[in-house]
Symmetry: D2
Subunit: 509 residues, 4 copies
């Protein structure tokens, strides 16, 4: 929760695509589906948003709409109107990792190539971007942004052969790109009348496919193939409900899937090096994803609740009540309460109107800090020992005033229980993490973290505990298996680099 | 929660005032205190906001800043800068009840009178406004808005005597105003170097006083009078924490309190007619106020939790889990779970980025309705019987798709438990309520409300149950008295007009 | 020209009204006519603009649209749309004389009175405003702005009798107002289905009536009464052409004219005190009005040209070329050239994109000053003696760098000829003039004004010369009478207070 | 004048660059100099504006600021502040020729290449753009815009050799580019600490160099080299005065000039094919350029005046007065009056507040047309025969209502004299001209153009007459040579393609 939020830890992006099924021109209003899909992915990036729609005929017409800020601000209705004719399209919502916040970095990118126009939207970060940039520039290409997406489009454009072809082989070019860079990317490439949905061989970033059905059949089991109104692809399945799509399946690590009006077709799976496990980012479970999204067959909320339960097993507490720093830590807090048998109460009430304030704080107001953001629900904890579950401690400067607030308002003890292990290493695969020096877990104060932040005690979830919670090894409360849909036969593996320093691929420097 | 929110039920306004204590010019930055205070009252009105600061010398200089929308938008920093010199000031945040949304209706109002300039901010609605308007106009005054606040300023201006005085008796004029109109108003009147804080004789709208102390002494018991940095007055005490003020006391029904740099002074209490009880709006507890505010010595959150517990006593349910429609019904849901012993789980996840969307929905998207707003946390309720606690059902068209969503996602039963009685009557004292015909409780469908909204069963809290919860008559869970600070000797009474049709004063037509 | 512009000398306002003739609802689109009319009056005020339309039935509905800035910015098309149903309306464009620039001072004002709603738009300044404010406030009225227009509406509202009447006598109230204050005002009062157009007894501010005819008949002599599509009233006749109206006549000093769908009717003429002459502001001719407007039967351009000719007679110059400081001094410069026989050339080219610049000038850029605004057309004056005609010298700091520019670019002599007399006194009747101390004509430097501003010589038009030019006493060039339409029998008189200190009425202090 | 303006005929762009001289970091505030320089070039493009500043060290930091609309709107002061540290920079103001108005087309373009970052600003249009695009794409480069400037940057980037060099040879690359494309471009290329200023071999677009001197020495002859504060390069010399620069010289056709803190250095002149004359766009003289700019040693105003004189020789008229359609035709009208001996008067008064109006015209208002824009100064022409000089007739629909207005207001005859020849052909070198079918000179109505537009007679300047006026062949009025600074020995030539169909290079299709 707040520690992540305050720390500026964030995801690079969300991607979303849609192809109308059946006869074209479609009645589907693809631009509206894209917009609603992106709103549901808004938590993955609030800096800028863009969509590109295409009529799908040859040569195609692409219409682009981009803007800074939230989707609702970036796409004024009068502009959205211009995109209303489209049979397919892709969209993107961006979180700035570099600090350079400009419209020109806003995705999707559209480029004209010898073989026609392509549009590209990308979530992730190429681990070997620097080497690839040099390679592209050595070929004589100028790069106008620092974004990986421009780099990807130019890599796709310059792959030989360089003759004008009747039917350019984009799949070969995509495979070539995938051989050039192992991770991390979930990628949408739109060309004329198809969208290619690609996940890197390590599956580091998520990507799921959904099927648009008539709303009336949305929640019935019997919506057959004939009822399909279109196909969507999204960073997270949470966006499917908001547009009336049924969850279909995930794109597999290394897979290239083609979406067209004729349906969904798996074109290829580019393998990992022998012996390498998949490396889906474990922080998608811990913090980034929306709790109602499904990854690897399990609901994110349930995984977070399991983290809370595992934490209660690893770090039990003599206390009166369990609570949460609203809102993201709530599933873990409820899991902790469930497992420990302690009552769950609310101790903080969030003022949803705070937000980016412009007031230059004077000394007085700066000292107030977190008080503007949270109200203390004193009746619920005065005179009590409180277990406060949070999802992380990054720098330690957000949780500290909350503890102070609770203590001053009457809590006799405040035990911090963190539902994830300490973050110690940078991420090079799409997540914006403070420098090593800023991370509290790398600082001398960490020795006596409880004293530093003013807590009665502090305990973290172990890496093994987190992996158990994610990979389904937590015993159920009532003794029955809680895991849903998990393929027992599947070879699981997750990227824990920011916790352990073990990166899925060797990094070039 | 959502039913209220969706129905457009809302409060007219929040008021906030601040006087710097000690030597003037003050270092307090009164305009910033006002701004932060109003942000904490933002839930009482999002249409427009305004502040007026004053230097406090004679003749005084008033600086006004007004704007449409949320406080953060209404007060751009460069404009706020202009108000930086001020020793006292009042502010207002407005919720439009009339639908006429214009800057000229934005408060506070400043008028020049024979005895100097006054500024007025008002929360409430004068029950006899029509007769008072006629009276003022018959005196030859033209009224340029339909707002009660302009009416109040002109009533204050035209009270005799009409000579130029050295020391005009504003208190006499305020008393005169209070005799002209019995309710409903919580009122701030600023004149040169004092703020008069007034609550109508029925105490229909809230008003509390706080004391600004050094931040370092905020949470210590020992901040003595000598430490006072200023005095604030606010519709709700929740705003005190965010500016570093300690709760001092409520303004009593009928009371005129003077705030100045010298401190707080009770000037007068205008009585109610013999036999009349106070009539504090019970919906401040049920829905309007922020849960961390304190009214009549009790925390709003705790009252809402008691409503949930009383509801569990009145309407027990055979079910597996208890949940809430986030976020406002959560205290009641937790209270219901506590009392009933059923486990509390979350079933809905709110997309905080939805909000006012501009997209013209086509048939497809309109059918999706609530799906854009809430994600279903299916793991938590599939195959289970759910008690869903909401704070009200107004028109019935918000809860219905939520029930559908839960059932289709696997809930075997959905029992709706409403933590307040049915709303049947209009409010003439400041709350915007749909017309009688729109209220579900007045419609034929109400006979079979469960069938109408698709629930397995529906039960409401009784009026008596609500009054018990508000007036402290609920037995505590562990057998000890839960009420905090309630004056047993106090004659309590609350306005339940919208539930019962019993208005505190006779209405003129 | 520029000296006035740079000095902030300006007119208070322009007013414009329109009533559709014939059957209602009209097809005339009154709101658009008002908007175009105000755009044509934009030179009279750029601070804010407002229009009020009315459906004309009883009780009437008034729709108001106000905004800051130029008309085109103040009235966004979507807002203008809301006013599209209206059978009559009035509008206003405002120039701030007080420096307090707020939407709440924006006219027209609409107030609800015992006898219904009136809307008021005003150009001018009440010479006895302070006494009238005190009188109104003594009656118990609070005033929320410092504007004369609010004062006028409250004066109209409080005039007895104070009973509710079937047919309130607004004309009696207007006459009463005119007896309370002698000048200066051109006033529009809209009530239900009529507009009263009023000019003060001294006729200090202009007001003209036009007749809307079918565009096809606009320029034919034969457009009969039957062709009338509506009636308009405007501060200046220049606005008539832009909306397709024919000039009808001026409102006379002291006259109350009623405009309704039935036509134009003179209701009354309130006389001046015995012996007083009319006092139309002579600066309307010199600077404020648009050159294509007609006052007292003569075109403003022609009067300005006569000023230039008179100046050539009074102050002949040995020189090579005559030129202008563009654009307002051009008619006078051409007149000077005509009379003197010297060739007219252009020496300065205006950059029309300069305008309000936000750049904080550093020392370097501040020194550049006027260079950003004007380019030197060197070929036209290098090696020549230049007569440069300007319309005024107010503070002397605008003309000075222009002279420097011309000299450095090669002019051998620069003779300044000013087509109006020196301004020495403040105006209390609606014109914003710098303080006496700032006026160059009141400063010691004026003794050697040529040296001070760097000119070879400086000469002003005499007061008598200006009056001759305005009142038609200049002999024509070719010996025939140039005056058009002037009523020889009319008793003429003009306000020259800012030049001579002789005010039309005695000022109260 | 208006015919051009109304027809949407326009220039593609203006470019401006600045290098501070002497020690770095400079005190010059390069970003402000660029902004003021672009404001002075605003007439060359109002769609968008951009500047890029550079600190000039290796590796360099570039800061970019771009925005839509006029310079003053595009560069809000808080954004400009971010660019305040810069020792050199280039800027661009853009006029959309393609109708695609997007921020991403806004120049300057910055790209990262193997040899570092370059920034490019371009005025003109590459005649062989289509072939060059194909060539670049065949090399494997994707192009993200349709702009020539992106094409130019990629051409510069892909020129071999492709090794990483210590000192990349940008001049060789620029020469290579110039061999790839003969015209039309005036180009600025910024690299680390130098600006290359390039003009195509035909010199089709203008480019001049200026020297920043201390303001105090601006107009003195004696500002020596030691006084140089910086060097500027601009599409037009009119911008020099507004920033305090002295005119230095033009960049010659085909020349590459290097500007650095050490001064100005001519690096190379790329020749034209044997026998080809220069082809400076003659319409820069006729319409596009600001009258105070200097091209080929002559002031634009003077050339326009000569056009008017030549027109009076070619097409004399029996009439009473000569006038102009303000403002751009005024020099020609004054020249016509001078040569013919007829008096010059003003007949139209422009309403400077009209401008882009949003009002959807109804039938009535559409018929009014030009009346909103111009007021008739009737006194000056009633009963008279008028020669009205305009600078062009493009479609014929602007001049027509003006003639109608004059005739209806009393002109007995209206003779149109056009100070340029009829436009008959499209431009492929940077000017936006209507399609051939829209040009009045290509339509059957042209046979009887006078009847078509309602004039008494219509005459155009001949192509030969225009060339004489431009190339200095008009005898002076007083018998002395009027030409300033013209190099008699210079081989002159001008592009008259839009008038004659003779393009300077063969066009590829």
């Amino acid at each position: 929760m707040s520690e992540f939020e305050e720390s500026g830890i964030g995801e690079e992006c969300g991607v979303f695509g849609c192809v109308a099924a059946g006869e074209w021109p479609t009645q589907l209003e693809v631009a509206k589906v894209l917009t609603l899909g992106l709103i549901a992915l808004q938590h993955r990036g609030q800096e800028s948003a863009g969509i590109v729609t295409c009529n799908g005929v040859n040569p195609p017409t692409y219409n682009t709409l981009k803007g800074m800020g939230l989707v609702n601000n970036a796409f004024p209705p009068e502009n959205l109107l211009k995109l209303r004719y489209g049979n397919l399209g892709i969209g993107h919502t961006r979180y700035s990792t570099t600090g350079i916040s400009e419209l020109q970095n806003c995705q999707p990118f559209v480029v004209d190539t010898l073989h026609g126009k392509i549009a590209v939207a990308h979530n992730g970060e190429l681990v070997n971007a620097a080497a690839l940039r040099k390679k592209v520039m050595r070929h004589g290409v100028g790069l106008s942004t620092s974004s990986d997406s421009e780099l990807i489009t130019q890599l796709l454009a310059l792959t030989p052969p360089m003759e004008e072809l009747d039917a350019p082989d984009w799949v070969a070019r995509i495979k070539n790109l995938m051989h050039e860079t192992p991770t991390s990317y979930s990628l949408l490439v739109m060309y004329t009348d198809v969208i290619y949905a690609i996940r890197d061989p390590y599956g580091n970033r998520p990507l799921s496919i959904g099927r648009l059905v008539p709303i009336s059949k949305l929640h019935t089991a019997g919506a057959g193939e004939g009822d399909t109104e279109g196909w969507v692809v999204s960073s997270e399945s949470c966006s499917f409900q908001s547009i009336g799509a049924k969850y279909y399946r995930e794109v597999m690590p290394g897979e290239i899937v083609q979406l067209s009006k004729h349906g969904v077709k798996s074109l290829s799976i580019v393998p990992r090096p022998e012996g390498d496990l998949p490396a889906f980012c474990i922080f998608e479970y811990v913090y980034f994803a929306r709790p109602d999204s499904i990854f690897e067959g399990q609901m994110v909320y349930t995984v977070r609740q399991r983290c809370g339960r595992q934490l209660a097993i690893e770090a039990p507490t003599e206390a009166d009540v369990v609570s949460t720093v609203p809102e993201s830590a709530t599933p873990a807090a409820l899991g902790y309460a469930q497992q420990s048998g302690l009552p769950y109460v609310e101790v903080l009430c969030k003022n949803r109107y705070v937000g980016r304030t412009f007031i230059q704080p004077n000394t007085r107001l700066r000292q107030l800090g977190v008080a503007k953001k949270f109200g203390a629900l004193t009746d619920n904890f005065t005179g009590k020992r409180v277990v406060l579950v949070d999802d992380s401690i990054v720098r330690g400067n957000t949780i500290s005033p909350i503890i102070k607030l609770l203590k001053e308002a009457g809590a006799t003890e405040v035990h911090i229980r963190v539902a994830s292990p300490p973050i110690r290493f940078p991420c090079y695969m799409g997540i914006n993490i403070p420098t090593k020096e800023e991370l509290i877990a790398n600082r001398p104060e960490f020795e006596n973290i409880a004293g530093y932040i003013g807590a009665t005690s502090v305990r973290y979830l172990s890496v093994e505990g987190l992996l158990s919670a994610v990979q389904g090894g937590i015993p159920s409360l009532q003794g029955k298996d809680e895991r849903i849909n998990t393929n027992a036969s599947r070879r699981v593996g997750h990227c824990t680099a920011c916790l352990t320093g073990k990166y899925p691929v060797e990094l070039e420097w």
